[in-house]
């Protein structure tokens, strides 16, 4: 109950945030990214953190939601909510196929097979005509219940809602029979199986919930940005960012993914907008016209993936339980 109260309190504070700071598209945009990554990572955490099944292909479910929604809107101009539901169905079909193939296997195989499925989805989307191929899909106009979809606020609240629902599901599941079964599977599959837990049923259940939430976020993202292509919504890098967010915050904890997203997304944004390079120049540490200054200006914006790599390595070596794991150890 304590966790539910905390979720509601924090959600209320987050909901009041746009009213407090007023109209700031830039800040709202970053907050939308934070909420989306937190929700994506929480959804992944259900399967990876609690059931111990590390999916390296969650981009496939995100892309399934995004592509299904965008295709249905451009072709038939359907209500975006209906398209979102269709996206969930597509993502769940992909999840069921993946699950039925790989959940009989253990260890490295699930990781490898999840990548293979995601790559098959990505390459198929790239090669088919109706998905727009390498050009992607551009959405010119969309409407829903008279909401102002040119403003960022509807998407801010949309992402927030999905995050709250995901956290509520997680908080509920981990204290439920299913949650205990999943954690038993994570700790020792053979022991769990010998106690009569149907391994593939519960793994598939966790995967389906996770894939459905991920696909909803994909649909929201598509309508929010109004442009998708395979490198934005189906790339292996997205899958890795989702995992990394959970790892840094703390895998298998309720709030870990939120903490991870609050740290990583603004960091990536700072690197992308070259905030760091500019700060070094402004602080007088690097001259703007010197060779190093020019190098930083031209390249630091592209370095955020490099920084992700360094953070991953440091995190696995020194902080494998994440930031929240650190506090738990103290307790």
């Amino acid at each position: 109950m304590k966790q539910f109260a905390l979720i509601v309190t924090l959600a209320a504070m987050a909901a009041a945030l746009p009213l407090l700071i007023g109209e700031s598209p830039y800040f709202t945009g970053i907050m939308i990214s934070v909420l989306m990554m937190a929700a994506l990572s929480s959804a992944w955490n259900l399967l990876g953190g609690y059931a111990g099944q590390y999916s390296f292909g969650h981009a496939a479910y995100f892309g399934a939601g995004a592509y299904t929604t965008m295709i249905l809107i451009t072709l038939f101009n359907l209500n975006p909510i209906l398209c979102m539901a269709a996206g969930i169905v597509v993502a769940c079909i992909i999840a069921l196929i993946t699950g039925s193939i790989v959940f009989r296997l253990r260890g490295h195989y699930f990781a490898l097979a999840s990548i293979a499925v995601a790559e098959i989805v990505r390459l198929s989307v790239l090669n088919f005509e109706f998905t727009g191929g390498a050009q992607g899909i551009l959405l010119s106009d969309v409407s829903l219940w008279g909401l102002d979809l040119n403003s960022k606020n509807p998407f801010y609240y949309g992402m927030l809602l999905v995050l709250v629902v995901t956290l509520a599901i997680t908080a509920h599941l981990r204290k439920s029979k299913t949650g205990f079964y999943l954690q038993a599977i994570r700790e020792d599959q053979d022991a769990a199986s010998s106690l009569g837990i149907n391994l593939s049923f519960y793994k598939n259940k966790a995967l389906l919930i996770s894939a459905a939430v991920t696909s909803v976020l994909g649909s929201l993202y598509g309508v929010y940005i109004r442009f998708i292509d395979t490198s934005a919504v189906l790339d292996l890098r997205l899958s890795i960012e989702i995992i990394l967010t959970a790892i840094i915050g703390g895998v298998g904890t309720l709030w870990g993914p939120v903490v991870g997203a609050l740290l990583l997304v603004p960091l990536a944004e700072m690197l992308r907008s070259n905030f760091l390079g500019d700060a070094l120049v402004k602080a007088g540490l690097v001259s703007e016209t010197s060779g190093l200054g020019i190098f930083l200006k031209e390249n630091l914006a592209h370095a955020h993936v490099l920084v992700y790599g360094i953070i991953t390595v440091l995190c696995i070596l020194y902080l494998p339980k994440g930031i929240l794991g650190l506090f738990r150890r103290v307790k």
Binding site: G48, Y54, F56, I101, V102, R104, L105, R106, G107, H108, Y109, A111, L112, A113, I115, A116, V117, E119, I120, L123, S124, L126, N127, L236, I240, I243, L244, I247, N299, H302, A303, V305, L306, Y308, G309, I310, I311, T312, V313, I316, L317, P320
Partner: protein, 291 residues
Amino acid sequence: MLLFLQALLSGTLTGGVYALAGIGMSLVFGVMNISNFAHGDLMMLGMYLAYFAFTLLHIDPYVSLVMIMPTAFLFGFLMEKVFINRVIHHPHQNQILLTIGLGLIMSNTALLAFTSDPKILTTSYSSSAFNLPGGIFLSVPLVISFLITCGITAILSLFLLKTSTGMALRATSQNREAAQLMGINVAKMSAIAFGIGTALAATAGALIAPTYYIHPLAGHSFLLKAFTICVLGGLGSVAGAGVGGLIIGVVEAMSSTYISSDWKDVVVFVLFLAVLLLRPQGLFGKKGEQS
């Protein structure tokens, strides 16, 4: 029929180089029980080493292997000592993430240092081909690569079968604890295995450099191919990886010829899933090894 033979032969030649990458990954997996997600990026480093040896020092890419192999071995040996051996008793997912992180560092450092413009290594014989009777063409660089691959594989087999280090490596691969009890320095074996794996990856990269675009992110697609090869041959089986490489090369060439080159990678990954579904221990693996 001509088309079929052409695809079969070129597929086999390309498959030989894939096999080399697959063998490296399989050796690491066998000895250390680690899936090395940086393998593709190590191949990419081999491509750039060959490129710079050729453009700066004017050394033929096939001759520069003499330098690339020991350099890569040392690089891999140190990488294992500094990073990998610290997670050898960790859960699989941490090992995977660590190697993914190392791979991201390598590919994005390459991106910063060499920019994203693809480089092309053009030798005097890059586009020449042997004309076989019946109208079949065999690309000269592919034939040379294949022969070198055969030579390296033969030397590696002799090393694994006949030398005491090779036997110690195989013993570690079969049972790490038992090997340690017999007095084998398993930590050293891990570093050697990772060094050899890296050397083989870099060699495979150097061998395909004259026929591919050299790009910082080129390793990505080879990584998944190397995994498919390992799973096909049975994770950890060196001989299996060799055969797996040839099969993947031929499957790729056949699907390029009869379906479309856009779909060849999809066919490879579908094959990968089919193997997992029907024969998860691989074509040559023993039953029960997949758990």
